[in-house]
Symmetry: C2
Subunit: 506 residues, 2 copies
């Protein structure tokens, strides 16, 4: 079994336990590990290190592709094993530690971490931990369900630990396209002009002298949680599909649209699933993550090809993929996140970017990361990489949430800006769609308030906008009231005016 | 004279007066004109249209490359001839009309206007007005001191008016590199891997059937105002130059740095001039505007090549350039702003972006456009195009301004975000430099407050940060106080606490 997975002669004696591998970590080291949206993460070495940190005072800077699966980030945070963490996370325990100031988090565009490392704007990676399907005859690594930053970590690290995951079938060989740009000043063209174009190898090149250990595991990825489509997400999806149908009617798009990117989560999944029903054909994706809906769309014959940096699917979907791998193999491609999220390629292909907002404001600024301007949720992820360079930059969210619509997601001013008014084309809630193309701020405010706001907040937002206009300005604001709804929520538990009257006692 | 300038036979009878040309404009038309940072703008047709609008109710949507020179924008605004204006302006009168809500302004990334037009996300251009040095034998246009969006306007417009400027010498032929990408889905690679690489023609292709008139003018560009370097700008320049010298010492940069972009204005000019004194060599620029400092650096032998979209210089410098044109001709190149500001090229070349902020906050967010979050100053221009994809994204501003330092330019929260914390690497004021690379928000706040803030505001910002940290959060804020300094300025004329005590009566 092991000899099948290690085909490079001089690695045969490098197999060690996860516990021994974790002993290579020293206090204050910078560790780079594979893992992107829970896929292809370290399931043996990082957990063993978290366990070690239970009884030892030791902390690292941990850089990943994106989020990790299982309880790894939680265990590391609980055992105070994280000094600094970047570029993305989705773990509730780690989030709490970040917001307490106990773990320093850097919220980065997913395309940029590798750039910063190669340009030496971040500390050097001491040890890289790379998940592999197997090691080929030349010592190169065949990745698993994600590529993330693994190729850059392997290139930039002093030492490498390879984590071979025997739950991944050998058939995964071939679905990756690995390419690392040369360092400055010899940076080259990324010669991708279609989502299915390959520019690299199907393995990660490894310097054998760097490899200090090979660890075996058979733990599969954490499955994606697939939640049923609720009426709000269905309404958002329907607004978006109607928008696309109108764009086709107006001659701006064809039935194959443009390459699609969709963020993670139930809205994105609902939207993507919706394409199966609509009058679309020969769709392609150029995205970060392939989710259940990607494979449903391939099955329905609507989607011709999907490029991303990871496959993050439910347990059922994963089983379905493995059972039908030959069908999907030539329709998907996993790339390093520097390529999947590259400004150059996104602009050249003309990607339609569909991402989820936490809140947006009446002028079209979007907050994707912070609750009340202060508490980190997950991170910006790749939303900025795509929104900034997209053919169309679309953000979706529900207009309100919580019992009695205590939170409005449309606000006078967002409490944190991740996507500026300059970069947002279309906003959608279950209430409707605001097409901001060609609109000045005062025009945008009217459309956003009218089309996207929950009815219970429409009057207050209109009132704010009208009073702000009396003060004048290109982007009229009343600064001392700009965060009034946020403050009211903190004070009363609801953003609504006079909420104490409206809320029943309970 | 005229026959030298019109070498295409069938254009000979198309010469008309500016007044007649302006009669082609109809109410609510969309007009695209050349002009980028005051260079190469329409000096005959637009002013004639402004004059016509004095006695007629007529308004247009005016799209340019960037700012116009002379009093054109002011005259158009004063005569209510502008319905909508994009993507940039610097005129005091127009600014006032925008902030009164009388002219609708769209503040766009300079790289994007042409994209939006070609993708039909903006209304079609009815008439393009293109300034030309001359028209060649095939009817093509040799541009003048800027390229801006002229090539796209000529391509996308229904009709074209060519404005031949006889003040521009024939020698300008050859300094332009015109390339328009094919429309989606046939977008191609921008094959520029060095600032001096050419990918296009040295003329703008014109469809002769679109040409409805040719107008002659001999009015030169508005000269750039060059202000003397004051102690604050000198201090900012010195901090930046010391930073670069340290980057060289640390081995991250060589003496030729990386291609440089610098915004407009005295700080940028001071910084660029500073390179002449430092230990730098074989510099290149990949920027938007070539200013006086560019030609000084060429003269000093430090700068090998400069690519941009316009030449905007003082009267003396312009004369100097014309007198020595052979010396400069093979060292400069003017490109369409889709190329000079292209994300793809900026990232590939690894541009160092140096831009001016209006204000920045303790977490590294930058406001480049709005006074008190409400009033438009000029616009984002190309700063976002460069900052977002730069090798290093640097923003400079003075720490305080006005008498008694009534305004702090370092604030708890910026009142408008143009460049998010994700996109800002280095902040500099005359007080010092904050190197934000690899820092989490709480770390950034300490460095920014300590190094960049004016001493009179340090205590209040530290106090805000410390109290915010007690509330917790990844990016600690006290939302109800976040704009307290802005509000205090509006109320008292100073951002300082107890300013009524400190300000003498006068």
């Amino acid at each position: 079994m092991q000899s099948d997975r290690i085909r490079f002669q001089s690695y045969k004696d490098k197999v060690i336990s996860a516990q021994d591998a974790a002993l290579f970590f020293k206090d204050k080291m910078t560790i780079g590990t594979s893992g992107f949206t829970k896929a292809g993460d370290s399931k043996a070495v990082l957990p063993a290190f978290a366990e070690r940190a239970k009884s030892e005072t030791i902390g690292i800077t941990l850089i990943t592709g994106a989020s990790l699966g299982h309880t790894t980030d939680a265990d590391l945070a609980n055992n105070n094993a994280l000094y600094k963490r970047m570029p993305f996370q989705v773990d509730a325990t780690l989030r709490k530690k970040i917001n307490e100031g106990k773990v320093l988090f850097i919220d980065q565009h997913l395309s940029e971490t590798a750039e910063l490392l190669e340009n030496k704007h971040l500390p050097k990676i001491d040890i890289a931990v790379i998940e592999a399907t197997y090691i080929d005859e030349n010592g190169n690594v065949i990745p698993t369900t994600s590529v993330g930053n693994s190729a850059t970590f392997a290139h930039a690290a002093d030492k490498i630990i390879i984590e071979i995951n025997t739950s991944i079938p050998f058939e995964f060989k071939g679905i990756h396209d690995i390419y690392i740009s040369k360092n400055y000043p010899n940076r080259d063209v990324l010669n991708i002009t279609a989502a299915d174009e390959r520019i690299g190898t199907d393995y990660i090149t490894i310097d054998p002298d760097k490899v200090i250990g090979i660890v075996f595991t058979e733990i599969p990825d954490s499955p994606a949680q697939v939640t049923a489509i609720d009426p709000k997400t269905a309404a958002i999806a329907n607004h978006l599909l109607a928008f696309f149908e109108n764009e086709i009617k107006e001659g701006r798009l064809t039935k194959s649209l443009m390459p699609l990117q969709a963020g993670i989560g139930k809205v994105a999944n609902a939207v993507m699933s919706g394409f199966a029903k609509g009058n679309f054909e020969n769709l392609v994706m150029y995205s970060e993550v392939l989710q259940d809906s990607t494979f449903e769309l391939i099955d329905s014959g609507k989607l011709d090809f999907a490029s991303a940096s990871s496959v993050t699917v439910s347990e059922n979907c994963y089983k379905h993929i493995l059972d039908n791998f030959e069908k999907y193999k030539d329709k998907i491609l996993l790339r390093p996140q520097t390529i999947s999220n590259s400004a150059e390629v996104i602009r050249r292909l003309g990607v339609i970017a569909i991402n989820t907002a936490i809140e947006f404001d009446i002028y079209g600024n979007v907050n994707s990361t912070h609750i009340s301007g202060t508490k980190m949720m997950n991170g910006i992820g790749g939303s900025g990489d795509f929104a900034r360079n997209a053919y169309l930059s679309i953000f979706v969210t529900q207009s309100s949430s919580k019992e009695y619509n205590a939170i409005s997601h449309v606000l006078p001013m967002v409490s944190h800006v991740d996507h500026t008014e300059h970069d947002v084309d279309i906003l959608i809630t279950e209430q409707g769609i605001a097409d901001l193309r060609g609109l000045a701020p005062r025009e945008r405010a009217k459309v956003i308030i009218e089309n996207c706001t929950h009815p219970e907040y429409k009057d207050e937002l209109s009132n704010y906008f009208n009073r702000a206009c009396l003060r004048g300005g290109h982007t009229p604001h009343i600064l001392e009231e700009a965060f009034k709804l946020h403050s009211r929520y903190i004070e009363t538990g609801s953003m609504k005016q006079n909420c104490s009257v409206e809320l029943p006692l309970h």
